[in-house]
Symmetry: C2
């Protein structure tokens, strides 16, 4: 299939089909822009093998291959897809700049404390300090959500029409599951995430990654 | 001064003139591409004021204003500067894609554990768990540096000529001061950072931010 990009995703995603893995962002972006794509599933062992590290130096998913083009990092891939056609960036330069600023903010400013808390849950849950540190981690997340909800206000999206900035911000926020109990204190952000997930392109992307999960369970 | 972009920087940088603040990345990118710029200094109080949050929703520096264009997040600003002229991205599409992948990797994959350790030093140094957690934080950083040094090998830069990806990666790595004792275990990365800092454009950017520090000390 020439002209159809190939992305990589976990053969066995640790998220149990919840769409938390970072291929979801890329699938969503491709669906928003109406582009078909192929998926190559990668095992945890293959992630660390030289063949995969030639594509992704840090041994992660997703990657994106299209002709001679090889990208890694979900942010770079979504930015590339957004710049390649209509649907994810406004036509005017100032609007594009703001959308890309929000995309970077999602990854470097908002995701950082969310991943920090997630990692603590994975690797520090049995440590003596886990419970005592949680309020500190939660405060770091809330600092960002205070500012984000203030900027969003009662708007549907961060800056007019839905953009790659919203796609990435919703993707990052939905890493905060309900049992964490933080996002729920920001009703406008809960609605914002729900609005993103209700988009037909998100639904198609979610179904595609869920099919991989179901397949991995049956084999 | 029309056509001269204005960036923001800390009036009183908490780094004591060491060039750790994120305006340094933007100054460096502007110097690499030979573009003059103006700087507006912002106090900590002004960062959180509505006027600044209208430019940067998360109340941080740097911002970038140029005509009607307003950007925030150092990643978005450096990517914009890199795309606006020669000097920071190769001319071919695959090369540009790889450079931007490394820029995103610097911010979302490599900087995350480095900032996590930095924040622990700021806000958890007096907590009972600080010393016990440090090896865990160091391991997370080393995992990334293992992969990064493997990719760099004995090359001068990550992918042929110096690019925006190198600019951001060097900027992130130099957040690891010698007293942390991690970077020093990777001699090729120490050389890589030194090579970046030796560039005339870095030197000019560093001198400009240092002048702000000296000025803040004398008033």
């Amino acid at each position: 299939m020439p002209n159809v990009p190939t992305i990589t995703a976990f053969a066995n995603s640790p998220d149990g089909g919840r769409g938390m893995a970072r291929d979801m962002r890329v699938r969503w972006a491709l669906e928003e822009t109406g582009r078909p794509y192929a998926v190559r599933l990668v095992s945890f062992e293959e992630l660390k093998a030289p063949e995969h590290k030639a594509l992704h130096p840090f041994g992660q998913i997703p990657t994106y291959e299209e002709g001679g083009l090889v990208l890694f990092e979900s942010g770079a891939i979504v930015a590339h897809i957004a710049a390649s056609g209509p649907g994810l960036l406004p036509p005017d330069a100032p609007g594009r700049a703001r959308a890309l600023s929000f995309l970077f903010a999602a990854l470097n400013t908002v995701e950082l404390p969310i991943v920090e808390r997630e990692q603590a849950g994975f690797s520090e849950r049995d440590d003596s300090w886990y419970a005592e540190r949680l309020p500190l981690l939660d405060r770091r997340i809330r600092n960002r959500l205070d500012d984000l909800s203030a900027r969003l206000g009662t708007s549907d999206w961060l800056d007019g029409a839905f953009s790659a900035g919203d796609l990435m911000m919703v993707s990052v926020l939905q890493r905060l599951p309900a049992n964490v109990g933080i996002l729920e204190d920001y009703p406008t952000l809960v609605s914002y995430v729900a609005r993103g997930k209700a988009r037909p392109a998100y639904q198609r992307a979610f179904a595609a990654q869920f099919a991989v999960f179901l397949q991995s369970q049956s084999t």
